[in-house]
């Protein structure tokens, strides 16, 4: 059990698969769900899958730079969540609902 954590190399590909799966699940959620908050959450999920991939590659290449990018992605995600949620609240005030189907003004 005293194995060094460095030696899990062969399972790194598994992490890649996991992150792809997370991304796809997020995308699927964005397509099927209609609640705007859930949509935002699915986007967070996709961002996290990218983070996971970056960390995996960082581990793989032995460089810390991708982890710094993860840091920035987290920052951007935080900013995005605040702005997104406040837009959502505005939308809710106007329509009394956050159903994405009701917001189809884009076609006009």
């Amino acid at each position: 059990m005293t194995t060094d954590l460095n030696n899990i190399g062969t399972s790194l590909d598994f992490f890649v698969v996991v992150s792809i799966a997370l991304f796809v699940i997020g995308a699927f959620g964005v397509l099927t769900r209609k609640n705007m908050i859930v949509l935002l959450m699915c986007i967070e999920l996709m961002l996290n899958s990218v983070n996971l991939l970056l960390v995996t590659f960082s581990k793989y290449h032995g460089a810390a730079d991708p982890q710094v990018f993860v840091f920035f992605i987290v920052v951007v995600a935080a900013a995005e969540a605040t702005v997104g949620l406040s837009i959502l609240i505005m939308a809710y005030r106007n329509r009394k609902s956050i159903d994405i189907e009701l917001f189809n003004k884009l076609k006009d």
Binding site: T32, M41, A78
Partner: protein
């Protein structure tokens, strides 16, 4: 290799909880499952020696962003009006599209997955606070500073958006 088994178990749990995010009916359940997903992702980070990111992930995502989501959900109090279901057609086509994306991405990254046999052992210091801190405050100091501007912009934007316009009523 027991660690491999652990990582496979954790990875599967991650995927399962992520699926629950998408599949559970109630948004609050989705939030909670998303938090659980974040915890699993953090555990994966720890497996890859990125402790600092793991903790930051929990603090920022689970501790701040998701609390915000939960907060908004509670404020809107939507539990009465249930979310309308998507039609079977939409679900089916989305499943096809998502499945296609999964396959295609796997196919695209197949080479890199195969490459991992020639895995390069890395130095220990990359995931630690020191390693990241040194990089962040030297090479990436400009983006780091710029991100603070991003935060201020986001903050101002959020406040402006969420503020009720009282002048109109007066």
């Amino acid at each position: 290799m027991s660690l491999q088994i652990i990582s496979i178990i954790l990875g599967s749990l991650t995927i399962a909880s992520a699926l629950m995010v998408v599949l559970s009916k109630h948004p609050i359940r989705s939030v909670i499952f998303l938090v659980v997903t974040f915890f699993f992702i953090s555990s994966l980070y720890i497996l890859m020696n990125a402790q600092f990111l793991a903790i930051v992930n929990i603090i920022v995502y689970a501790g701040a962003i998701m609390v915000l989501f939960l907060f908004v959900l509670m404020l809107l109090n939507l539990n009465k009006s249930a979310e309308p279901e998507s039609s079977i057609l939409v679900k089916f086509s989305s499943l096809i599209a998502a499945g296609g994306l999964f396959l295609v991405l796997i196919a695209a990254l197949k080479d890199s997955i195969l490459l991992s046999k020639t895995y390069i052992p890395n130095n220990e210091a990359i995931g630690t606070v020191e390693g990241l801190g040194n990089l962040l405050f030297s090479k990436y100091v400009v983006p780091f500073e710029v991100s603070s501007i991003l935060f201020i912009a986001a903050m101002v934007g959020a406040v402006l958006l969420a503020k009720r316009e009282k002048q109109i009523i007066d």
